[in-house]
Amino acid sequence: MNDGHIKKKLPRQDIPLTTKVVEVIKHNECFVTVWLEGDIKIKPGQFIMVWFPNVEEKPFTVTCIKENKFSFTALKRGPFTEALFELKVGDLLGWRGPYGNTFNLDKNFKNVCLVAGGIGMAALSLLYQNIKNRTINQVNFKMNLLYGAKNCNGLIFKDIIPEICNNNTCFCTDDGSEGDKLFSTELLEKYLNENQNEEGDNNIDVVYTCGPEIMMKKVVELCEQYNVGCEVSLERYMGCGFGICGGCSINHKLVCMDGPVFNLEELKNLPDFGNHICKCKEEKNESFTKKL
């Protein structure tokens, strides 16, 4: 009998580690990127809990990693994200993690598509950069990004990861202020249609998506219709991030441990998927979302 203690699966930090803010980039009045000092080992799909002393603690995905610093990007939605705009270089924030599962990037994939809605691009940022780095010498590897927002001010990842501005990215906005005047789901439908051969088969291996849940629901429906694999990154209110408080449960699963990335098969057993509306959006509503 094993009388030793059970080992944690991942090397991770479970007590907030406070570290210096090294840069604050206010992209516009709604979006901010914060760079923190230090190294982090995190895989695309995972998230960290960011502690703002005297304010709160919230989950974020890491958007970029450089030598001895990393960043996260936030949309102004409530008191926490408002406070991020007031941060100055040298201020201290805490972080713990990384938590959650990762996007599955099969080595045999040759053609992948990323569908982002607004700030949802944050959850796909590391994935995009990883795939790009891994496949840089693979001539026949194809990655497309379909990136939509309410208007041109919402497409801030053009500044954060400039390499997305290439022929394989399609931008769209609800008001047509940049790219096509379409929803990203409409872009996806067009794209899936174009990639269908005469037999109705599709050469896209997988669609990775993150955005408003109602958008992801539609993405999933399209992927099922066109018989393409799909992975979505879900968001729920989180207390602990490591499977104890139960705050992020969706049906019989936990978003923090079983997710945040779920595939088509898993989503079939999660009837609550698609019914979630961000609480702070409900409460704050109009004032912020109108600007986007």
Partner: protein, 301 residues
């Protein structure tokens, strides 16, 4: 081999999910049942819905786990619905944890929650994280007895009282709740504690103080259960720091009839329940035991 009967309720194994851990959504109870729990305690239920404290509410260092969730819950009405729904999903016995701000509130909660037909009612008189708002009934024998009596008077379901270790002597309190009619005792709740981030000089928990649980508090839990066993005749749900089969055996020997397991799910995920059960069985086989009852209180012989 590891199944037992308590209050005429059949437990397929002694491991009860402790209150405050994952007992939030009815559908998740299915996942818990599959993971091998012998019983499930709900998060503590109050009359009105509570948001609880702001994040950070939980973290863990090398030696202990800390939380100050602040008794967030959906309130009695929604919790009754949740328990009823959960009972359709699972066969595992359900323990409804309740807490009130006054003795009368405990009575009202007891009456109301009985409608959902949980298998056991646990009165939480020992949460260390809501002292500003709530009296710590578990800190005095008289107050603990008063809560016990009113909860008992308002239900026909077996009642266990969850006690706090943050007292000078737990024995008179255990005795008082037994005399007031409690069917059992859950011990222990978390130990009161605090951590400060040295860079910001700030308490990490929003509530400043929190409850310490996990491996580090196991010796404290064993001692309290041992003393309570010596003091009362009613059964004990031994809780606090159990993470392995060997811990479970030790807690049974100290005098527990059932075992509360919570933070272990942090160390090993919810599959820890199956693992600990297997370890208990292995230990029993290797040491010539065929009935878990023979282990209960064995350290007192």
């Amino acid at each position: 081999m590891i199944d037992s009967n308590l209050f005429n309720i059949k437990f397929k194994n002694p491991l009860v999910l402790a209150s405050g851990i994952l007992g939030v959504s009815a559908e998740y109870f299915k996942t818990l049942e599959k993971s091998g729990v012998g019983g499930i305690t709900t998060k503590s239920i109050s009359l009105k819905p509570r948001k609880g404290h702001k994040n950070p509410i939980m973290f863990c260092d090398d030696h202990g786990f800390m939380n100050a969730v602040g008794l967030s819950n959906a309130g009695i009405d929604k919790s009754i619905e949740m328990i009823k729904k959960a009972k359709q999903f699972v066969k595992t016995p359900i323990i409804a944890s309740i807490f009130g701000g006054t003795v009368d509130e405990f009575g009202e909660l007891s009456k109301l929650v009985t409608e959902a037909k949980p298998d056991i009612i646990e009165a939480n008189i020992s949460c260390p994280n809501v002292k500003k708002e709530f009296k710590l009934f578990g800190a005095s024998a008289e107050a603990a007895a008063a809560v016990t009596k009113i909860v008992k008077d308002n239900t026909n379901i077996p009642v266990v009282i969850k006690l706090t270790p943050n007292v000078t002597d737990i024995k008179p309190i255990a005795k008082a709740v037994e005399e007031a009619g409690a069917d059992g005792i859950t011990a222990i709740n978390t130990l009161s504690g605090m951590r400060i981030d040295v860079n910001t000089k700030m308490p990490i928990l929003t509530n400043k103080f929190g409850g310490v649980s996990g491996k580090g508090i196991f010796p404290v839990a064993v001692k309290n259960v041992y003393e309570i066993y010596k003091t009362v005749k009613i059964p004990i749900i031994g809780t606090g720091g159990i993470t392995t089969g060997k811990d479970a055996i030790e807690m049974l020997m100290a005098g527990a009839s059932l075992l509360g397991v919570g933070t272990a799910a942090y160390y090993g995920g919810i599959k820890v329940f199956t693992k600990v059960n297997l370890e208990i069985e292995d230990w029993m086989k290797n040491n010539g035991y065929s009935n878990i009852k023979d282990l209960m209180g064995a350290a007192h012989e």
